[in-house]
Symmetry: C2
DNA sequence: CATATATGCAATTATTTAGTTGCACAATAT
DNA sequence: ATATTGTGCAACTAAATAATTGCATATATG
């Protein structure tokens, strides 16, 4: 809980994934979020802290309430990683194509 | 290490993400994988077990060597979740559009 | 002003995790 | 047959995590 956070760690926890989904629909206070779960307000608050630390979520104070907003942009980090992954995969298939091409040429 | 695995937990660890990237290029044995990292063969082996448990990776025995292949399809689980998330976001913006429309009408 | 509400923070605990070391076993190589 | 190699598995340790309980603080409401 002290270490540097990243998005992948943030979405590893099912409760946090659910919170992200909730906030995708609209900003909510910790209490409002907690009502959707079995876990205590404090537990949710901790998840919010983690989400805040890795900037998936940002706070907006409104009187004594704090509204948690989603920073949807941060989710792109995951997409970026997936893209990178897919690029590697594609490269492999390209190489496979090349091999198949060579086999075809040899056959002639 | 006993609990039911899921893909999100699997990609939470940076070493496992790196292993996934390696295997995206092509199948490798545990020893070959371990050579790419500072951690021991056994540590890598544990990561492979976790990746196997959640079906991101599958084994193929060849003599005394075991080749670990990527099951690229499993990665789609992550994409699916992201899609679901984006759908929620889009819905929110649609509603926002509706509100803006209503404001526009009222102004008339 | 007194009370209730919304929230964060600290300390504690139980569980999970990542990593190490050492051993077992099967498939090769000599 | 014996040695070597590739691998998994078990026991252990250290660190991180999730959740609880209790307290502190600031803003509202009567």
């Amino acid at each position: 809980m002290e270490t540097r956070r990243d998005v992948f760690q943030a979405i590893a926890d099912p409760t946090r994934r659910a919170i992200i989904m909730l906030l995708a629909v609209g900003a909510l206070t910790p209490n409002a979020i907690a009502e959707h779960f079995d876990s205590s307000r404090q537990a949710v608050s901790k998840h919010l802290r983690i989400l805040t630390e890795c900037e998936i979520v940002k706070q907006e104070q409104q009187g004594r309430e704090i509204h948690y907003h989603l920073n949807a942009d941060k989710m792109k980090d995951i997409e970026k990683w997936l893209e990178q992954f897919k690029k590697l995969l594609a490269k492999r298939f390209d190489q496979l194509d090349t091999v198949l091409e060579q086999l075809k040429s040899k056959r002639k």
